[in-house]
Symmetry: C3
Subunit: 272 residues, 3 copies
């Protein structure tokens, strides 16, 4: 399918009409943000992580988002069970490997999850995506220390190895299935001063996957909406505090006209 | 007692004067919202869940609010201990059975809690209340798929079976002790686009129970305040992001005049 | 070193330039606030608590902040391991003993942590600091029931016993190393109606310690910035909801001129 402002809008309208149920196993820091962003977008969020119920919930959800931001052993078990059930039930899965290069525990957890099932989309910043490919990058905590540009190759390589779509988010976002690479320009530097904007992007990808099974356009649509809502919010904000609120309002109010005026998606290249 | 704008105000003033300590065992998503709403109302919130300290804390708290939104085994243990201690110490308890119809684990947990002790108030949306009565409703995650109207019967039945007050919140809220049914009109559709508004309502009920031992008026007062603060906030907001903030401000500033102008409480019926 | 508006600014600029990585093991209620406040200040926050990775993370962090607000056994283990690794790796540590007087479990946990390693700074409200000294104060939940004035003696005593800097926050803040006592006037009463402002203060102290190894001025600088940002935010706010957002904006925008105009730091006394 062609990826344009119109295709972004088509998916957004589908989310607003269908209110897909998005299951999140995510970190404590961003649960509230993620839920509010999904609600503002038009989806129906649920945070369900316990191994006792996680598989039952996958069966009624339309997509699963797994985020390793505040990891501990019981949560890893929940992630494993949920991702395997999602694979079995053919539900789309987004994996957000927060700070994967920062500790061996994070790297090993992600490696274990990826050895058991294959997500539809992996979204991270450049450091995280490179760490997954290189297995030896020393990350500076959960923030990015590599530019996105140098990570496009890593993303393409990862997408091929895993067999999924990989999103590298940054000043420009790159979305690849290992063959095609799309670039989405958008957002605002102030977004980096609000916690959980990356995690929110992953959650929005989950919502788009729930209405569009084609992961490359779905992820590209999500990143486009994320960037435009951020830009519109930043224009009204005097700092990161007010930005976060205007971001939800912008998501909630987003129109086709705004998407047409602000979307900057381009096919970067097609790798053979 | 007669339930009017004046009785709402009397309880609200008591909360503002006494700053009752409200213990919450609640979900990760809404802890911050709940704490901020209780502070804005005039109460003193505390989030304490570990089995090692939960009973000690019940003894110094004025009310306990238990919310199963993000359940796991250690938290269920904390809930059991706390609710039993609250029964022993004669402290009022609010139970919020978030998404109880969504998984067997949630249903079994609530059934276990209810078999061990009786809360003062159960508050849920129509799906949750119906699931508790029917034990076989397939809920769509944590959001409501039944209208409140059809749930009044379920609420009345549940109130009689359990021997507590039941609140069904929705576009209109219904509060019943199994005999009388009160209706509270208020709120704004935009509130449904902010996560945790239902959980916040449950927490506010806890604060009202702390100053008013009569659960039917206390719960009705809380739902009235919730609705009015939501209406006032929505009038100033351009979306769900700004609504959440204005909601706290409205709670904090709420006056007798505003309550008199906006409260729409009526005795719906008295069931024999 | 002399503690003035200029020295506050020097540290703030160092934070904005170096973006130090601050590891937080903190409570569920305030994780989002804390992360946003650290980002707005210019630091790089990370929430990492699992025993499997907590020590690895200490090694790459510039400071560790431990907050016992929502305690449970696995988290206590994480705190123990992290604080001992921080002592070994000579990383500064802030300990926030939230509600320490409210339950034996909290008191015993803090006693255990303090028996294993010594933090650089302990920050609490007057009740918490007194509870630590007296071991028998009955706290009213997590809020303060003692005035800060009567707690200065307790803070001085605690600072000497533990061998660290102690901060008592309240309408006026007091910062002492057991010999010198500094007073910081600032803030706004509305800050008490927003959850987690004390926890945020502890996190900011962590950021200042990351750029200034001298704990007495570092903690004083942090409390000064906290108070000024709160005052500036309150001036723009109509209640606690809007205050929280303007607080982040104020932190983000804080200028030398604002610090010079609003800082009220004085050396209260030097105890022999």
């Amino acid at each position: 399918m062609e990826i344009t402002a119109t295709s972004v809008w088509t998916d957004l309208e589908a989310i607003r009409t269908q209110n897909p149920l998005i299951q999140n196993i995510t970190n404590y820091v961003v649960m509230n943000n993620t839920a509010n962003a999904l609600l503002a977008l038009g989806a129906s969020p649920a945070m369900v992580h316990a191994q006792e119920e996680v598989a039952n919930f996958v069966n009624i959800a339309s997509a699963l988002v797994v985020n390793i931001g505040t990891l501990s052993a019981p949560w890893v078990t929940g992630m494993e069970v949920a991702m395997q059930q999602a694979a079995y039930a053919e539900k789309p899965v987004v994996l957000d490997p927060v700070g994967v290069g920062a500790t061996p525990y994070r790297l090993h957890t992600v490696q274990k999850l990826l050895s058991q099932s294959t997500p539809s989309v992996i979204r991270g910043n450049a450091s995280e995506i490179k760490a997954l490919v290189e297995h030896h990058v020393q990350s500076k905590g959960v923030d990015s220390t590599y530019s996105s540009d140098t990570a496009v190759e890593a993303a393409t390589q990862l997408a091929r190895e895993i067999g999924c779509v990989v999103v590298v988010s940054g000043a420009k976002d790159y979305i690849t299935d290992g063959t095609q690479v799309l670039e989405v320009e958008g957002g605002h530097p102030l977004m980096g001063k609000v916690t959980g904007m990356g995690c929110t992007a992953s959650a929005l990808i989950g919502a788009f996957l729930a209405v569009n099974p084609d992961a490359l356009p779905a992820a590209t649509h999500a990143m486009t909406v994320m960037g435009i809502a951020g830009e519109l919010a930043a224009a009204k904000s005097s700092g990161p505090g007010t930005l976060q609120l205007h971001f939800y309002d912008a998501l909630y109010q987003l129109t086709l006209e705004q998407i047409e005026a602000h979307s900057r998606i381009r096919m970067l290249k097609t790798v053979d």
